[in-house]
């Protein structure tokens, strides 16, 4: 029925118990740092309300804010391009590279370019795109996708990274000291920065009022790239806008604290216009965003500022790994964004949740993630074949619960059956519950039966 379910991939991940718990602890540590840092801000919940309201405003005025952003950027001398989908986005980048006779490209972290498959597209055209974020460079060497949007190589241990670096940049075999490996990466990347003619970056916040934008990094790699190269291409999802520069403070205070527990990213770099003799391009990308905006129940998923806090807090993500979602953006937010792009392919993601609600409460822009997971489930069972047996069992359960006589009878039958069936049958391979859990002890009577005898 399906090529890839989240449950299958998760079960595979969990087979390595030690690694699963290492992954869980690592991300829980990040969540704990976030808690500590948020606790230091008495007005934390007010900030979340403010950020949420600002993003609601943006989504309800997106057209006019985009036009305002474009005209201000144009006035700054920036070339603004529009892309309706990933293909147009990639073609724009390629054309810019061709027109400017670019040979060497450095790119800082951008989940949008992952979403658009830019690296593969450019590699097929003969370009070598060097990812300059340390985590991104590691997984680029390993030919892997990011498993987390903020911590792309979080699934790898330092020993894994030592091996990858030994193979690709000649570090000592068996060396896994983070300081040593990072220094080796710095030296390797330094050469790439110096040679680059073009730097590609993402955008964290586009400011409609000024036409400028902000890129947040911890490593300063976006700055190093854009300062050295003559061409800067900034790739921006259309939902990344905020109305005014004055709104920025709210978001910068929330972003890093939510992401890693830092009070602010090491570099929050503001770009307005190209330096003399250089060129700055902004590509505004839709790629399914306006479609999502039209879905009343799901539009506010577009408020996301990509902090990754919902991944760090999600007890399922921590124990199943980013790859189990098979989606550019994994975890809870990915599970409400992805079904809008391909309902069938991502149909198991909204079910990869207990609806515990931790994601919604940790979200700095207050996206009701778990409520949207619930709503996607309703959409999916209507539109995707979930298997006849599941549908039938739900229909039968629905009918049984609708009739007290049927319910009382079914309950009695189930209790009787459990009592008199041999354990070998109760715990057969058909009983998924019983693989690792005992069933409840069967009482001699239901509460209702007791009540009729004792209270009525």
């Amino acid at each position: 029925m399906k090529e890839h379910t989240h449950a299958q991939a998760a079960a595979e991940f969990i087979k390595d118990d030690a690694r699963t718990h290492w992954h869980d602890e690592t991300l829980w540590h990040v969540r704990s740092k976030r808690d500590l840092s948020a606790q230091g801000i008495p007005e934390w919940e007010t900030l979340r309300d403010r950020a949420s309201a600002t993003k609601d405003y943006v989504l309800s005025h997106l057209g006019e804010l985009l036009e305002q952003f474009e005209s201000n950027a144009l006035a700054n001398g920036v070339e603004v391009l529009w892309a309706k989908d990933a293909k147009e986005h990639n073609e724009h980048v390629y054309r810019i590279l061709q027109e400017n006779k670019v040979e060497n490209i450095v790119k800082s972290k951008s989940i949008l370019t992952e979403e658009c498959g830019l690296n593969h597209y450019l590699e097929d055209k003969g370009y070598d795109v060097v990812d300059t974020d340390l985590g991104e460079r590691i997984i680029q060497f390993a030919k892997q996708a990011p498993s987390h949007i903020v911590l792309p190589a979080i699934h790898l241990k330092k020993q894994d990274i030592g091996e990858i670096f030994h193979k690709h940049i000649g570090t000592d075999k068996g060396a896994s000291d983070p300081g040593y490996l990072t220094e080796a990466a710095r030296q390797h990347l330094r050469k790439k920065f110096v040679e680059a003619n073009a730097a590609i970056t993402g955008v964290n916040f586009g400011i409609a009022e000024t036409g400028g934008f902000v890129v947040c990094t911890n490593e300063g790699n976006a700055d190093m790239g854009t300062h050295l190269a003559d061409i800067h291409i900034a790739c921006m999802g259309i939902e990344k806008l905020i109305p005014r520069a004055a709104d920025l403070g709210v978001f910068l205070r929330l972003l890093a604290r939510s992401a890693t527990g830092q009070s602010i990213t090491n570099y929050s770099s503001h770009f307005h216009k190209a330096a003399p003799g250089k060129k700055l391009y902004i590509i505004l990308v839709d790629n399914g965003r306006t479609e999502q905006l039209a879905r009343e129940d799901f539009k506010n998923s577009l408020k996301c500022i990509r902090c990754g806090a919902c991944m760090n807090t999600c007890p399922i993500y921590r124990r199943s790994g980013g790859y189990s979602y098979n989606s550019t953006v994994p975890g809870p937010i990915g599970s409400i964004l992805s079904p809008g792009k391909d309902l069938k392919k991502f149909s198991t993601l909204p079910f990869a949740s207990t609806l515990c609600g931790s994601c919604s409460d940790v979200c700095p822009v207050k996206i009701n993630i778990h409520e949207q997971l619930y709503k996607w489930r309703q959409v999916i069972t209507e539109n995707v074949d979930m298997g006849a047996s599941k549908r039938l069992s739900m229909r039968v359960a629905g009918a049984t619960f609708g009739k007290p006589v049927l319910y009382d009878l079914a309950g009695k039958m189930a209790r009787t059956a459990l009592k008199f069936t041999p354990d070998s049958l109760v715990y057969s391979s058909l009983n998924v519950w019983g693989k690792h859990r005992d069933l409840p002890e069967v009482p001699k009577e239901s509460f209702k039966e007791w009540y009729k005898k004792n209270r009525n």
Binding site: F351, F401, Y407, P440
Partner: protein, 240 residues
Amino acid sequence: MRVGLFIPCYVDQFYPKAAQATLELLEKYNVKVEYPLGQTCCGQPMANSGYERFGKASSDLFLKNFGHFDYIVAPSGSCTLHVKDHVLPKEAPSPKIYELCEFLTDVLKVEHVEASFPYKVGFHSSCHGLRGLRIAKCSERMDPEFNKPLSLLNKVQNIQMVELDRKDECCGFGGTFAIAEEAVSVTMGNDRLADHQRQGVEVLTGADMSCLMHLEGLIKRQKSPIKVMHIAEILNGNPV
């Protein structure tokens, strides 16, 4: 005030003692509780599985049984949340539904609990009560601290409540999630259990029997000595 007792289906069938304790506890506080005999299930299992539409009959039946009460009380945060969000009409007049602990603290304003429980007790904070009904402050939010079920347990004599390393992480039950995502569900449950075991818990309690059923299943399979009781049983003074 007319108070209707809603006993969720699996509590009725598998945990009648928790239901009896709930009834007796409310009676101790002089609440005249009515238990409509025609009740079944609130429809949550179907709805959370994506089949809200098949739960219509049980929703209609729920309203038929409970529509005329001032208050509905249920010993389950999860079922209470489902009824509140998806079954009861949003506009007045509609009965108000309360999870047992919040009914005791907010409506009855209980000051004293007549019970002694000389054990080390771990409290499992079930998600739907916590983040859905807000019966306590969750660790994600930065509001002032409050915890309705714990405030009640702390009124029990001789009880020793333990601090958990992760005070409100999900146990992995999640209804049909427990089956559909068995591997993750069991890992989450065992991790929660290990936290209680590290703190030397003798009795694990909570306000949602469904999470407790999942944890108890793991406890029994591990042959761990930890006992599981619904919070109503402890507040009602039931023995272990």
